[in-house]
């Protein structure tokens, strides 16, 4: 890793408090720099970051992936992820590994979770684990979640597209998540056409429905910036207070983060990259929000979620 190019934490959070009539900086700019600032990062001259602000607390990527080991370069790829996090001042990455082919078999998701656990050991304190399961293997999935959360220290559950999240087969998973006090990160997309290769895709409307059934569940709607019509996604989650919106994805449409905050509220928006690293950081940096709001999105809200763990 080349420290010369590290982003300074303050640069990361620059805010452009732009109004229709001009520019203004929030008063929070006068706060002292965070004691958690990475002191080793070299200052670099970055044009366009003169209004840099300090950040308190950790930056947590709520949606990341380590590499499946069928890929020959998995080890180097995992290292690159950590190097990218270093450059972008991301403290922790909540990672899962998915099977290349889905629906995942029980052996397939167990293997992925063993590798995630190994990643947590290879990058201690940096990689947090999501336990990936296919709810269709109910007994095996519930056993695996218990093993991963209670024995291996995983922080949550990752569900992909094997089932729509409103299908009854998913309910025991949600009930166990509530019992353990861990969040579920649900792959989601809402497009205005039928996505043929993902017929059981969930969207934020489905998550809102699930949230009404389980008001204690902590449900994270994955990648609003890569999950189709993000305006629909945000609005469909409006009345579901236990659905959080993950900002990850490759789409960098201006206004996305601000709309998520305006509709869902600041406590329900969580920062993520889903491997689109500069897009992930860039859209938070670019959002016209206060420093406190950005702090909540970048790590405060996820920290609060992780503290609800019961074991």
């Amino acid at each position: 890793m080349n420290a010369r190019f590290d982003l300074n934490r303050r640069q990361l959070l620059q805010t452009a408090a732009i109004t229709a009539t001009g520019l203004s900086l929030s008063a929070e700019a006068k706060e002292p720099p965070s004691t958690l600032d990475h002191g080793t990062a070299a200052e670099i001259s970055v044009t366009g970051t003169s209004n840099a602000l300090p950040l308190k607390g950790k930056v947590i990527d709520c949606h990341a992936h380590l590499t499946h080991r069928s890929r020959k370069t998995w080890e180097a790829d995992d290292r690159k992820l950590i190097e990218a996090a270093d450059k972008l001042r991301i403290d922790q990455l909540c990672c899962s590994i998915l099977t290349p082919q889905r629906p995942a078999t029980a052996e397939g998701f167990r293997e992925c979770n063993r590798w995630t656990a190994d990643g947590m050991h290879r990058f201690p304190g940096r990689v947090l684990g999501y336990c990936y399961v296919n709810p269709g293997y109910q007994r095996e999935a519930l056993e695996e979640i218990r093993r991963c959360v209670e024995d291996r220290g995983f922080i949550g559950i990752k569900l992909y597209n094997e089932y729509n999240c409103t299908e009854p087969v998913v309910f025991p998973i949600v009930e166990l998540a509530i019992k353990l006090g861990v969040p579920i990160l649900q792959h989601a997309l809402h497009s205005h056409y039928f996505v043929e290769d993902q017929p059981r895709m969930s969207d934020s409307g489905h998550l809102a429905e699930l949230a009404r059934r389980y008001s204690e569940a902590m449900l994270i709607c994955a990648h609003i910036s890569g999950g189709g019509d993000w305006e629909w996604t945000i609005k469909a989650a409006r009345h579901a207070p236990n659905v959080l919106l993950d900002t990850s994805g490759s789409v960098t449409d201006e206004g996305t983060v601000e709309m998520a905050v305006a509709i869902a509220g600041i406590d329900r928006v969580v920062f993520g990259c889903d491997s689109s690293m500069t897009a992930g950081i860039g859209k938070i940096r670019g959002a016209n929000l206060s420093i406190q709001d950005k702090q909540k999105i970048l790590g405060g809200n996820m920290t609060r979620i992780l503290q609800r763990r019961k074991s």
Binding site: A16, A84, Y193, V251, E254
Partner: protein
């Protein structure tokens, strides 16, 4: 200095854009220390008569020509485009084009497009091609406009070696000849960095290695996109100061003879 080759003014039919007037875009640019930008009409993407968008753009930027460089949106499949091109360059001072083959119902290989590229080249205009306007997964129920196929771009640059093309909002160049070393293609195209990865796969770094920093240009896609992701790419890019300067502004200034 930072020069953005990928900015827009006006409205887009399927989503509200903020910072889409000259004054608000300039305020956004100021806040990001972006000095100059190439702008074209976002409205012209979906207007049947794209020239109306060019006229709006010319009016909007009239007193900001020191910072906003106008490009024309020309649809060669629509009547009277030759007069539109002439007016855009000679009266409005537009220095280049933006082409939307998918939105305007033609292919880059169509004879009308060839004629437009030849005419623009004859006039010394740069031709930029947004590979996409927005992510296709979020498209309206009214239409489906796939990304411009890179294979069509390859044929275009081959058949028009004297033209100058700027490719915007694309990725996957290193998976085809466009981004590979010794690709046998003329060096008549540059690539905007707005969607290129600068970490992990690091397509941006790969293209610099393969083609040289001279072939990359800074561009944000604002106000469709937040400008910051493109700025962050420049910041984390592992490249020499000289190469970064080329990308930030020097390449665009040279191509536009500013």
């Amino acid at each position: 200095m930072i020069f953005d080759v990928n900015a827009y003014l006006g409205h887009f039919a399927f989503r509200r854009l903020r910072y889409n007037t000259a004054s608000s875009l300039l305020a956004l640019m100021d806040s990001k220390h972006i000095d100059m930008a190439v702008v074209s009409s976002a409205s012209a993407i979906t207007y049947r008569n794209a020239q109306a968008g060019n006229e709006e753009l010319a009016q909007e930027i009239r007193s900001h020509s020191d910072r906003l460089i106008p490009f024309a949106v020309i649809n060669p499949f629509y009547t009277d485009w030759k007069d539109d091109l002439k007016i855009c360059q000679e009266e409005f001072g537009m220095m280049g084009l933006r082409l939307y083959p998918g939105w305007h119902n033609y292919k880059l290989s169509s004879p009308c497009c060839k004629e437009l590229v030849d005419a623009a080249t004859e006039r010394g205009m740069v031709i930029s091609i947004p590979i996409r306007v927005e992510d296709n997964r979020q498209r309206s129920w009214l239409l489906n406009v796939p990304d411009v196929p890179l294979e069509e771009i390859i044929e275009l640059v081959k058949t028009h070696p004297k033209a100058h093309f700027i490719l915007l909002n694309g990725i996957g160049y290193t998976r085809c000849p466009l981004g590979r070393k010794n690709n046998g293609l003329p060096s008549n195209y540059a690539i905007g960095l707005s969607r290129l990865s600068a970490t992990l796969a690091n397509e941006l770094g790969q293209i610099i290695t393969n083609l040289g920093a001279e072939r990359i240009m800074f561009g944000t896609g604002m106000p469709f996109n937040y400008p910051d992701p493109a700025l962050v790419k420049l910041e984390v890019l592992d490249a020499s100061k000289a190469d970064k300067e080329k990308i930030r502004s020097q390449n665009a200034i040279a191509w536009l003879s500013l």
